[in-house]
Amino acid sequence: MHDNVVPVSINLLIFLLSAFLGLGLIKKVSKLLHTPLMSLTNAISSVSVVAALIVMAEPKNILILTLATIAVALAATNVISGFMITERILRMFKKDNGGKTK
């Protein structure tokens, strides 16, 4: 397997910066949108599909290949349903106009 090309400290830095960025961004999210926020972040974190694909690239044995393939299916389910449900929910939020009959 490949050795670490990026030092752990750099990864730690990326982690910490992402954490601060994430905390700052999420705090600003309107309370109205907390449900779609959850479905969106869930879809985004299913970028773990990438990890599963990497493991699938050079599996040592069939067990590893099987585990990774199942993981791809699970993560893909989340990616697809996550983004689609978020879109469906967001479409429902409408401002007060047109709806009223005079």
């Binding site: 990026v6 449900t35 959850m38 479905s39 990497i54």
Partner: protein, 456 residues
């Protein structure tokens, strides 16, 4: 050459994920955010397939096809009332995916695995597997396949402590010598049991917090996997998700004036204290009198809770709201953060029923309006409007921020019967001088009010 291109594609993907969250801050730009996220994901997957030269494209296609077969119908057909369940299920799926990749990576690397990698990998597998069973239990409770009540027994904390001890010993064993591979199945089993035991003891009313905590765990385990695989995109995306779950969990805890520990181990609703027993006269009211009251009101605020979702009353509620507006009243909806079964649940249900989102007002902003509100209508909410939170120090709700409906001129509570709410806590609101009880199914009551308006 191709590797550096892929690196830049990962950067593009990370930027798109960050923009996605930024655009989520308001309704106007939220959909753009979702598209940015989708595009980022597409880039990430394509770049990985190319860079790592995944040979078994047949398996990848099958796996993605299976994912689409489950995901697409789920996304299209899911009723909005079931969004909390689907969220719990997606945390289960995501966590299991991460946990399986972690397990695969362990077997892939053994016997050459650094101590640092093993520490992160162990943490990742523990988080992943416990989030998987925990979220599955949350799903089963929300779907009402198993009872939503907290499953509390004597010695619960001792049993959980014992399982934690097993996890700790196995984790230590693996970290000291990663080649102790027989420790791994025990570690996995213990983590699975831990997630199960933990969430079994938590009641339905606490689900908003639990779902948010599990969301944070799922994100963090993905980030940990990024450390193991040395994949920075995974670190960024997982951490963003973890931060989101963490903030939502804090908001939910604040909205209930409780701590994480209390939510996870408190067994809320199973405690002995229910607060001072409220006494006095309950004043029932009939449809006609409610109609007259609403007809005369110039400001009406609806306060929905989980009961509204149960009786599917959101559509008729919006109809009633429109009739009241036509009648000249100002109509608002007071939304408590923990009303419902997940963060933002009520907003989604009301938005689906075509309630304009600028009428959905959060608790802190609606409370100052209460003294000048003519009529407050409480639909299937209980704890979130319970004045015991401010008046009764012995109440388990003491200190929780509530929507202060009791300050309005008149409160009408739509309720099936006088049974206390889910947590069984006494609610003195029902006995206040300005409270009237309209007994019956919420949807049926509102429908009756609508026909009064139409005929009157």
């Amino acid at each position: 050459m191709i590797e550096s291109v892929v690196g830049y594609l990962y950067v593009a993907s990370a930027i798109l994920f960050v923009l996605a969250l930024k655009w989520m801050s308001e309704v106007k730009t939220a959909r753009r955010g979702n598209w940015a996220g989708s595009l980022g994901m597409l880039i990430a997957i394509a770049a990985t397939m190319i860079a790592f030269k995944v040979q078994r494209t047949d398996l990848v296609i099958i796996a993605i096809a299976v994912g689409s077969l489950i995901g697409v119908p789920l996304a299209l057909k899911l009723p909005m009332t079931a969004v909390p369940q689907r969220t719990a299920m997606s945390h289960a799926f995501g966590a299991l995916a991460v946990a399986l990749v972690g397990t695969a990576e362990y077997y892939q690397r053994i016997p050459q695995i650094s101590n640092f990698a093993m520490i992160v990998l162990t943490a990742e597998m523990i988080l992943g597997f416990l989030t998987f069973t925990g979220s599955t239990v949350a799903f089963l409770k929300l779907q009402e396949i198993i009872p939503g009540k907290p499953f509390i027994y004597r010695g619960r904390n001792f049993v959980i402590g014992a399982v934690v001890a097993v996890i700790a010993v196995m984790a230590a064993g693996l970290i000291i010598n990663p080649n102790n591979h027989f420790f791994l199945p025990v570690l996995i089993a213990a983590a699975l049991v831990f997630g199960l035991l933990l969430v079994m003891g938590i009641g339905g009313a606490d689900m908003p917090t639990v779902i948010a905590i599990l969301n944070a765990y799922a994100g963090l385990s993905a980030a940990a996997l990024g450390f193991v695989l040395d994949n920075q995109l995974l670190i960024v995306a997982g951490t963003l998700d973890g931060a989101s779950g963490f903030i939502l969990a804090i908001l939910m805890c604040k909205a209930m004036n409780r701590s994480f520990v209390n939510v996870l181990f408190g067994g809320f609703g199973a405690t002995a204290s229910k607060g001072v027993i409220a006494t006095g006269d309950v004043k029932p009211i009939n449809i006609e009198d409610v109609y007259l009251m609403l007809e005369a009101a110039s400001s009406v605020t609806f306060v929905p809770g989980y009961g509204m979702a149960v009786s599917q009353a959101q559509q008729v509620l919006r109809e009633l709201g429109e009739l009241l507006e036509k009648n000249g009243a100002e109509v608002l909806y007071g939304i408590h953060p923990v009303a419902g079964r997940m963060p933002g649940h009520m907003n989604v249900l009301l938005a689906e029923a075509n309630v304009p989102y600028d009428q959905l007002i959060e608790a802190e902003l609606i409370n100052p309006k209460m003294p000048t509100t003519d009529v407050c209508v409480v639909i299937g909410a209980n704890d979130v409007v319970n004045p015991a939170a401010k008046e009764d120090k012995t109440s388990p709700l003491w200190g929780m921020p509530i929507i202060e409906v009791d300050k309005s001129r008149t409160v009408i509570v739509l309720k099936r019967s006088m049974n206390p709410g889910f947590a069984g806590i006494e609610n003195p609101l029902f006995f206040k001088d300005n409270t009237r009880m309209l007994f019956g199914d919420a949807k049926a009551s509102i429908q009756a009010l609508i026909s009064e308006f139409r005929s009157g």
